[in-house]
Structure formats: C-alpha cells, structure tokens
C-alpha cells in the first residue's frame, strides 16, 4: 500500500544496534580505502574497446561536411560513427525537453558538442583517430547573453520549438519564464522609508566531481546491452537511452558503478548512449572514460546569472516589498533549466516575510555551455543576491545585519510568495542566533608572541605578507532551499526489502535503484532497516534497473524519499513477519493478538518490552519479500502568470558566519573560519550529516573566491577547462567549519527528517562575500571575487 504523503510514524527508542540516529560507518568504507571499490572508470572487460568522442571546436556553426575516411582506415579502429549512423528516428534526448542531439546534425550549438564517435583497441589510438576526422564548419554569430538572445533579429538557437514551454515564453531563445506576483508592489513601495537596488552577477560554477564521466557498455546475446555507469538516476537514463538505441527498455540493463561524486553534474546523460552505440555497432564491450579536459565539456554546469533586485523597508526595519528579475543562462540545451527557473523564482525572496512581491525568472538559450543541475539548483544564485541586499538595507537603516534579518525572518506559518504556507519548523532567526553566538577565532595572530604561521595568512607559503595590510571581516548569511522534486512532479521512490534466516540469523536485504554518489544513502538504508526490522545484518543490494525507480540522487531528496520508501517497505515486511508469527506462535501467548508488536534486537517484543520470540524462529523456512513505491505529499505546478501554487515539498535552512582576512594590497583572501548552523529535522546519521554540511559549505566557498568557468564572450569558447585553470578549494584554502546541528522534526517527513545536502551550499557564498565587504568596504556585486576586484585593477 503506497502511502501518499501520509505523515509517517516515528519509531521511538529502538533497541537495535546500528539503527537511525547513530553514526554508523559506511558499508563501502573498507572497499574505498583499500582501492577495491569499483568506480565506473575502473570497469574492465576482456577484449574491450575504448570509445572516444570528437567534439566541436567552435560554439555555433553549420556543419558543411564530415570526412571520417582517414580515421576509419587507421589500424586498431573498429568503428567511427556520426549522426548518419544513428539507428532510429529518435536522435535527441533530454531530461525534460528532448532537444539535445546524440551527435550533431548539421549544426553545433556550443563549444565541445559531440560530433562523432570512435572505437579503437587503445585509448590513444581512439584519440588519434578522432583527431583525423575532418569537420568543415561554417561559423554562425554567437548568442552569449540576454541582449543578444532577445534582440529582434537574434538568430534562434533552436528553430521550430514545440516543447511545452514554447507557447508561453516571450522569445524563442527563452527556455522558460516564471513570474510570481503577490500583493501590490507599487502600493507597498509607498510605505518604504528606504529602498535598495542592486545588480548582481553569479559566475558559472562546475560540479568538478572527481570521478570522471565513464562507463562500460557490454553487448548482450539477446541484442540488448548492459551498461555499467556512474549516474544520479538509473531509470531516467534508461528512458532517454533506450529510444535512441531502438531497444525496448528491458533490453537495456543498467547497473550503477561506483560514482565519484555528482553534485548535479550526472543528472544529464554524458557517455551513456555513445558507449552503447559503439558496443552495439562493434559487438564488443566499449569503455569510455573522459579526461578532465573533456569532463568540463561533458556535463552541464551551474547556471551563471544576472540578478536585479529592489527591496524596500520601513525605518523600523520591516521589509515592505521586493521586486526582482533573475536571468539564468541555460546555454545551448534545456537540461534542467525549466526547474531551475522554478526554484530561482519561488525562492528568490529568501527566508524572509515579504507580502508584496513582483518576481520574474527566465532561462536563456544561448551558445554558451549548457547549464543545468548543480547542488542548490537555482536557489544558490538568488541567495547570493538577496543576502547582499539584506546587508545593504541593514547598513542603510543603521541596523545590525543579523537583527535586521531576524526581524524579517520567516517562521512556521509564513506564506511564501507562491501562496504556499510553510507548515513545518522554519527556525531562521534561531539559526542566525546560533551561528552568531559561536566563539570567534583569535584575531591578529601575527602580533602574538608566537607570531603567525605564514601558512595561515593570505598568500600562504607564497610568503606575501606577515600581517601587513591584512584586515579581518565577518559576514553572516542565511538561505532557504526546497527539498525534493517540486511543481507537481510525481517524485516517488521504490524499495524492495527481503527478510529471511541465513545461518540461524535474521538477515535483511534492501534493494533500491538509488544512486549512491558518496552521500551515504547506503549507510542510512541499512540503519533504517535495522530500526524497523530489529536486525543487525543488512545487505545493500547493488543499485540497478531490476527494481523500480528510486528517483534522482539530487534535490536533497534521497534520505527523505528513498529512505521513506525503505522505511515504508520495511513496515510492510514487518506486518507480514508478525502475521507469520501470529500464525505460528499466536496460540502460545495472548500478547501476539492484543499488544502492539515491534521487532527489536532480533526479537519480537511488545511495546511494553516483553519478548515474545526470536525472529529467527518466526522466519524459519519463510522468506518475506516486498517491493513497493512510496510518495511524499503531492505538489502543484506554479501558475504560469502569477506563480501561485503549493509547489514545494519541504524547505531546508542553513546559516553561515564567515571570518576572512584580506591582504588589501594584493587582493588575496584567506577564509579563516566558516561556521554553519543548520536544521536537519532529524539526523539519521550525525557523522554523515556534518560531512554533508562541511562539503556543501566548501563548494559555496569555492564559488565565492575562486571557481568560475570562463567563457569568451566573443566566441563562446571555454577558456579554462582544467584543474590548472579552474580552481577548486584545496585543504589549504578551506578553513575549519564548525557545525551546529538543530533537529526540529518535520511531522510530514519520515522520522521528521529534513533533506540537508544543498542548504549549506547556499548561504556559504554570501557569508564569505559579506565578510570580504566587511573587511574592505567594497560593494562587490559579483561572485567569485578575484584579486583584481579587491585591488581596483579589474
């Protein structure tokens, strides 16, 4: 019986070791520290070939001709494929809009678009063969921003659009537009004593997961293919892959390989279809592994954005209104842009009470690299802007920035701009209080008797300062993120749970298609099974498509939704086990029929604690196996004109306090500490929760001071596709991250938990920016901040 968002019972006081609430260790930990864990790039098969993709060297061009003859003639080359080799009428794929060509047809729309495929017996042979393919491009003008996309004579990135957003967008180069209108901004503005306007720029961030896009496609005897791959959602991949191959879904078997991080960058397909096409063509297993250079072209990035904000407030510090326009650059293909627009608009006001709003968010089609999902998904860009606005308002009002935020903080019962009431705890003011109250790191260490360790100063071992010109700044920010897929999406998960006796012990097997990408879902599933079924031994079956969909490992949703599915299926298994117990032993003790029964510590016990029997005896000779779908509360689409609708499942809140030291002469920033307070509802695994918060915080730090994909505005070509030129925080760039975890239960969610993965990525960036502004007095309306922005040499 699927439970449609019904409040789920919270199991209290489990006696089973290793259940929820404990910091149990990862079941894959040993394999990962011994090097034996099989990631997708570690796959190997007897007689396998290596696939290589030829990508466009220009951003926007007509393909005049492709000559593969020289490549095909090379020794060791087994196949060279272009658009003409695609086996069916389905030649595009896409998460929501099928606008992405498997291989370019007549035109390329961004730098690095796949044009042809090679399979060879050595990766270097494949690379050299790809380099011998001659593609003749006739270059077209490039669309790179809102002005060039919406100009009256703008060339269309996609002609003849027939997707479901095409009818309501103001221009064919706009993927989706979502306005949200509530109250009356014109009237409310009259009440404002101060008005603050700002224009903000958010750079293009890369997920930079370390495990490159990779996998192995093995042709099967029935004409199908088995794909071992790193992804965030097996079933979504399957739906996009099978039609292009011309195979029924059951002939495309998918098994999740080890995933080396994801952060949104594996929501879209990368090498999946290409490897399958080559395997089916050659009849041999084909492995594809991107190198880092290709990885920068091989997945979508976080949308860069321009954000225009106006806020008003009364002189006693109450927000009167907010008007904003958020322009997200979606690049050449739609990917997740429509949903990112929905998030950006519906969360654009932040965790604040503002009754009168006029909001508009759009995503562009352009010839820039395609952008889609990344941790924080539309809420990150908005948070950067509205938190800057909050600081400007507080300054103008002469108020403390934390007190000003607390005065306007949303709480349970607040109505969102979408008209949706916030119906679970929203401890925004409390999180700000906690993060502000944390002890401060010591100041001006370089003046202490020990002196400063140069490694802890801006510039580090470059030895550029011993404290001269170094000033400290402190900044605070808070953010709001939705949890789960929104806007009416049927966001379900499936869990199959099997319980039996093996070697005299009750054993549970949990089988889901959940992509474990590092977040620790496998740890939590085992904990849930132990809590619900009272066993110690839990086996997590590898994730594959032999079980129903678990939805995506994104939107902070897996512990909530697939965790919820595991809990629900375990409850069904428990009922079945108790039925068996009653049948076998009911006549021996009246409590079998009258008491509420639990499974704890390998035994059947009454809620009063009386032991009725061993699970091993109840299950002897029996196997209980159930597969069931589970859904959270349904959501609604946002109205296309007003943005009204109960679009979100749950909200997640985090606050940060950043302490930075800036060498004002050289523009070098050292983040000294980045403290976080977050409400997690219920920490199913406290160690993992803190790990998620620290990891998310660091990605926010990255986009504050270093991470940006630079796209040449004249050519739309990517200029820094490497870890040499695209910098992510090292252990030297990353400060200590003290974390204060608050647990206020959401009664609508399993165990009261709150999805946690993304919220810390939101407020981290604006907190660092606020701290740098505090240190330097500069306005800083763009992120990331680079030295030239601090020294006036930009």
């Amino acid at each position: 019986m699927p439970t449609n968002g019904a409040p789920t019972k919270i199991t209290q006081g489990s006696q089973t070791k290793g259940g929820i609430g404990e910091s149990t260790l990862r079941p894959d930990g040993t394999l990962k520290v011994t090097g034996e864990f099989a990631y997708s790039s570690d796959m190997w098969h007897e007689d396998m070939l290596w696939g290589q993709i030829l990508r466009s060297t220009v951003a926007h061009a007509e393909i005049v001709s492709i000559d593969i003859s020289e490549a095909l003639a090379m020794a060791g080359v087994y196949a060279v494929l272009t658009y003409d080799d695609l086996p069916t009428e389905v030649k595009n794929y896409g998460l929501e809009i099928q606008d992405t060509p498997v291989l370019a047809h007549g035109k390329v729309r961004h730098h690095g678009e796949p044009v042809a495929l090679v399979a060879a017996d050595h990766p270097e042979t494949a690379r050299r063969a790809a380099a011998k393919i001659k593609v003749d491009y006739r270059e077209l003008p490039v669309i790179t921003d809102e002005a060039s996309a919406t100009a009256p004579d703008a060339i269309l990135v996609h002609e003849n659009r027939d997707d479901h957003h095409a009818g309501h967008v103001p221009h064919p180069n706009i993927v989706h537009r979502q306005p949200i209108i509530r109250g009356n901004v014109e009237e409310a503005r009259k009440r404002a004593d101060v008005i603050v306007e700002g224009e903000y720029t958010f750079g293009m961030q890369d997920q930079a997961f370390l495990g490159p896009e990779s996998g192995l496609a093995v042709p099967e005897e029935d004409g199908g293919v088995h794909l071992y791959v790193a992804t965030q959602w097996l079933h979504s991949d399957l739906k996009q892959i099978a039609p292009v191959l011309g195979l029924p879904e059951e002939k495309v078997r998918m098994t999740l390989s080890g995933v080396g991080g994801a952060f949104g960058g594996r929501e879209d397909l990368s090498m999946q279809i290409h490897a399958c096409l080559l395997a089916l063509r050659t009849g041999k297993p084909v492995k594809i592994v991107y190198n880092r250079f290709e990885s920068f072209f091989g997945h979508v990035h976080r949308h860069p954005a321009k954000l225009y904000y106006e806020h008003g407030a009364t002189k006693d510090g109450k927000l009167t209104h907010m008007k904003c326009k958020i322009v997200l650059d979606g690049g050449a293909y739609a990917s997740a842009s429509p949903a990112v627009v929905g998030n950006a608009s519906s969360l654009s006001v932040g965790p604040y009470v503002v009754d009168d709003v006029d909001i508009e968010a759009i995503a562009l089609y352009s010839n820039n690299p395609p952008c889609g999902a990344m941790r924080g998904f539309g809420a990150v860009q908005a948070c950067f802007a509205y938190e800057a606005q909050m600081d400007k308002l507080a300054k103008k009002l002469g108020m403390d920035p934390v007190e000003f935020r607390q005065l306007n903080a949303m709480e349970q019962g607040t109505i969102m701009p979408t008209g949706q009431p916030v119906d679970s705890p929203a401890p925004v003011a409390e999180l700000l209080r906690r993060v502000k109250a944390m002890p401060m790191p010591p100041e001006r260490q370089w003046e202490s008797s020990e002196g400063a360790d140069v490694r802890q100063l801006p510039g580090g071992l470059s030895n550029t300062t011993h404290g001269e010109n170094v000033v400290r700044g402190v900044g605070i920010a808070v953010g709001i993120k939705n949890v789960g897929f929104s806007e009416g999406f049927d966001d379900y998960s499936t869990a199959k749970v099997r319980m039996e006796v093996i070697g005299g012990e009750p054993v549970v097997t949990v089988h889901t298609a959940m992509a474990e990408v590092g977040q620790g879902g496998v740890t939590v599933h085992a904990q849930i099974a132990r809590t619900e079924l009272g066993v110690t031994q839990v086996t997590i079956h590898p994730a594959d498509t032999q079980v129903g969909s678990a939805g995506s490992t994104s939107a902070s949703r897996q512990t909530y939704v697939t965790g919820g599915a595991v809990k629900n299926t375990c409850e069904l298994v428990r009922e079945k086990v108790l039925e068996i117990g009653r049948r076998k032993f009911g006549s021996y003790h009246p409590a079998w029929a009258t008491a509420e029964l639990l499974l704890e510590g390998g035994k059947v016990v009454t809620d009063g604690g009386e032991v009725l029997g061993d699970l091993a005896d109840v299950l002897e000779g029996e196997v209980v196996e159930i597969e069931e779908e589970w859904r959270h509360r349904p959501t609604e689409a946002f109205d296309l004109r007003t943005g009204q609708g109960n679009g979100h499942v749950q909200y997640s809140f985090a606050a940060h306090r950043a302490v930075v030291e800036v060498d004002t002469e050289l523009g070098l920033v050292k983040v000294i500490e980045l403290a976080c307070a977050q409400d997690v509802g219920k920490a199913l695994n406290p160690l993992s929760v803190v790990g998620q918060i620290q990891g998310g915080t660091t990605q926010g730090l990255g986009v504050a001071v270093m991470e940006e994909i630079i796209v040449d505005p004249k050519t739309a070509k990517v200029r820094n596709p490497s870890f040499t030129d695209y910098l992510i925080p090292t252990i030297l760039d990353t400060p200590t991250i003290p974390v204060d975890v608050l647990e206020l239960a959401d009664d609508h969610a399993p165990y009261g938990l709150r999805g946690i993965g993304e919220a810390p990525t939101l407020s981290s960036t604006p907190a660092v920016l606020a701290a740098i502004r505090n240190a330097t007095g500069l306005e800083l309306n763009r992120t990331p901040v680079r030295p030239e922005h601090l020294t006036g040499t930009a």
Binding site: R26, V33, E36, R292, Q456, L687, T730
Partner: protein, 193 residues
C-alpha cells in the same frame, strides 16, 4: 615496449606498453590495480598518488618507462606496507622508508568482495572512523600522501597536515573529516609508542 618494476613488493612485467602511457595507465589498465585514481590525469588533483621508491608522486605524470626497475607502492599495498614498516623496528614510525626496505616487503593478495576482515593500515582505519570517506575517489591518493606524512612527521600540526595534503583535491568532504582522520591516526600512533 616491456616495462619491469615492482608493485607492492611483487615484481611486475607489462608488455606492449606504448611509450606515451603513464604509470597510472599501466597500473590501472595493464596490471589490474585500479585503486590509484584518474580524476584529472594532469597532475593537479593527487588522486593517483603512489610512492615511487618511497617518494609520493602523481603517477599520471610519470611515464611508465620511468618506473623501469623501480619500486611502486599503491593504495592496494598500503596496509601491508604500513605493517611491514611498523614491524621493522621503527617504533615511532617516523624513520622513513629506505629504498632497501621498500624493495624487501611484499603485499598480500586480497580477493574479498566486501572488504570484510581486511586488515587495514592505521591511516585507512582512521579515514573510515572519522567519516573522511564520501564518494571515495580522492581517498586512495590522500591515504598514500597522509601515510607518508605520518611516516616522516608523526605529530603534525594542523598547518603541517594542510601543507602536506595541499596537492590532493577532495570535492565531497570540505576536508574537515580528513583533518580529523589524520589527527586520529597520529594520536593512535603515538598511543602505541
């Protein structure tokens, strides 16, 4: 070409190696040792870190031919390497590994599917215990680098740890649990003395 070298104490021979192949490629694709990782293949991330005659190197930047006749330790051999070192009479563990020592030990084979019962080095155990492993792709390189740090500096300060591990990128953890893991391994190591 043919390349002969020692990996985790065992003599290895790789045939038909193309001259442009890296040590990383030969380990992963020819010798069945994919524990060293291929996150960037350009010497920026440290995920492929191995010991080459005791020195931590990015194996992606070492041409396979350069390993000829030399001794390589990968994450697969780290547990036995650490054990050998501990048994080698270097109580502090801070005596470094001489080339002679490096060439005398041998890793045990492991064929476990689950890793259960696997003997781990102190740094490997600390990474698990401290929650320093998430996706785990950076882990092998960080383990080799951390182990080498603790070998030469058994009581590193936080700044020492950060400096020693600054060539190893991690995208999941924010490094805090990695700091915890190295501190934990160092503390356990000093308790044993």
């Amino acid at each position: 070409m043919r390349v002969n070298f020692t990996v985790n104490g065992r003599p290895q021979e790789a045939d038909d190696v193309w001259e442009g192949e890296s040590l990383l490629y030969v380990l992963r694709e020819r010798l069945g040792l994919p524990g060293s990782k291929n996150a960037c293949e350009q010497g920026e991330c440290g995920s492929c870190t191995v010991r080459l005659d005791g020195v931590p190197v990015c194996s992606c930047l070492v041409a396979a031919g350069q390993a000829e006749g030399r001794d390589v330790v990968t994450v697969e051999g780290l547990a036995d390497f650490a054990k050998q070192r501990a048994e080698g009479g270097c109580a502090s563990g801070a005596c470094g590994t001489t080339l002679q020592d490096a060439q005398q030990w041998k890793a045990k084979g492991t064929d476990s599917q689950t890793g259960e019962g696997t003997e781990l080095s102190p740094i490997q155990q600390a990474f698990i215990d401290a929650g320093a492993v998430q996706c785990g792709f950076c882990t092998p390189g960080l383990l080799v680098a951390s182990d080498e740090l603790l070998e030469r500096n058994p009581n590193p300060s936080d700044a020492d740890i950060r400096e020693a591990l600054s060539g190893n990128l991690c995208r999941c953890t924010g490094y805090e649990k990695i700091m915890d893991a190295v501190r934990l391994a160092a503390a356990r190591q000093s308790e044993e003395v």
